[in-house]
Subunit: 293 residues, 2 copies
Amino acid sequence: MLAVPAKIARCKEIVMCSPPDKNGNIAAEILYTASVCGVTTIFKVGGIQAIATMTFGTECIPKVYKIFGPGNQYVTLAKQHATKYGVAIDMPAGPSELLVLADESAEPEFIAADLLSQAEHGVDSQVVLVALSRNTLRQVEKQVSKQMESLPRREIVKKVMDHSKLIYTDSKVKAIDFVNDYAPEHLIIATKDNDIFVDRIENAGSVFLGVYTPESAGDYASGTNHTLPTNGFSKVFSGVNLDSFQKSITFQKISKEGLKNIGETIETMAESEGLQAHRNAVSIRLKKLTHGN
Amino acid sequence: MLAVPAKIARCKEIVMCSPPDKNGNIAAEILYTASVCGVTTIFKVGGIQAIATMTFGTECIPKVYKIFGPGNQYVTLAKQHATKYGVAIDMPAGPSELLVLADESAEPEFIAADLLSQAEHGVDSQVVLVALSRNTLRQVEKQVSKQMESLPRREIVKKVMDHSKLIYTDSKVKAIDFVNDYAPEHLIIATKDNDIFVDRIENAGSVFLGVYTPESAGDYASGTNHTLPTNGFSKVFSGVNLDSFQKSITFQKISKEGLKNIGETIETMAESEGLQAHRNAVSIRLKKLTHGN
């Protein structure tokens, strides 16, 4: 999710920090994936320690330009703090969220499975159902209770479901307003006519449409990036994408003719701001041009 | 520089905060420009007070999605702090900088005027000359002293020049390395063969090429944006541009056929991360598909 766009953007150095297990090892799956994706260097360090070392640099770990990747609340705060020392970050990432918008055409069994898959991330995950049908809400609630029992992480899931919301409204407008106000990281739309909602969704990180599009497809296989804005930040941030690894520089060259055309404007504006030296930088050139010609 | 791209990006609400003078007025030039550029609301408040009100909202000033615009060190810190409360910012903006890269073909009179126009911004401005010719360096130094005397803001300018650097090197490679390491906000290249440098500049906010391209043209008339990354941040940030006012949302819809194709991959990946509910969200659908067909 991070190394691939970095590689496509031709980042010369892709540093990965990952905490080792108690024997000092990193999981084979992670190492293999890192090598396939073009990570150039791996350091065995995690948490705020990793953020600190990449921010300031150490004897062996380089200071980097930008730090990407989600983490717990400590890591998130460390990343935000790092920006005061000249490092950029992808975005402030909080606990994961899913909002499902469903009407009576949705499959309660599937919706429940989607809500539970979000809930198993951790006790601070957030799960919301906005149902346009009372019956759907009830069916989903039943399915959640049923499916929960067989999950290895059911203790976590139960805690998440306790502070989660199942909301009923009969108004599509209210439902849309709620979604845009909540600005979920993940949004599943499971309704008869998804287009009505797609056209009006302004704030969401990644949207999943239709019966056969579980959010976990985005996590693992369908190709969209799952490093997404949480905590209402989808109002302003995009998920990580190629742009996150690129920047632009403006170049300009003004001809003699060009400076003659815009010179007076610059002089007037500089004058009105009381910046005489700004004005001079133009006047001195215009003088030369007039005398030269 | 901020309202125009915001308008092009179709931002519905463009709020401007500007500190009033002691009579409670905002300069006519500012009000006129704001109305031309599409600012929808103006509030008479400046400094960290403006940042605070736009971050949290008040009875009359709305909470905004993103705060743009440069400010002093207090405003910059307030903006960085605001990001912890759900507001995005354009970039951390510090004091303004200019680096001029010049060889013996440059006009010392023009270079000096450019350095001085940067220096008059404020005592914490930074000005650097990297000269590929000792003679050019000496000539620029002379011209700076000469031109400085007639400037209304010469007290500020003198202080800036005291902590500024005029650097000589005979190596183009060293000059380029220095520029990329310093990562200036503004870079003027005034050399015989600018292309050599243009091809190798990796870190700069905005670049000005050739004899008739003073930096003040970018401030006032040539069209490039002058809200630029300072303090080395041009290593990672672009200047403000249309992208700064836009975000992207990914939408995906998977067909039955599609889920059959990638379903097993998702199941395997989820399993290997120990996330059974993620797996279930797919398995439950695949089961239905198999039984359904």
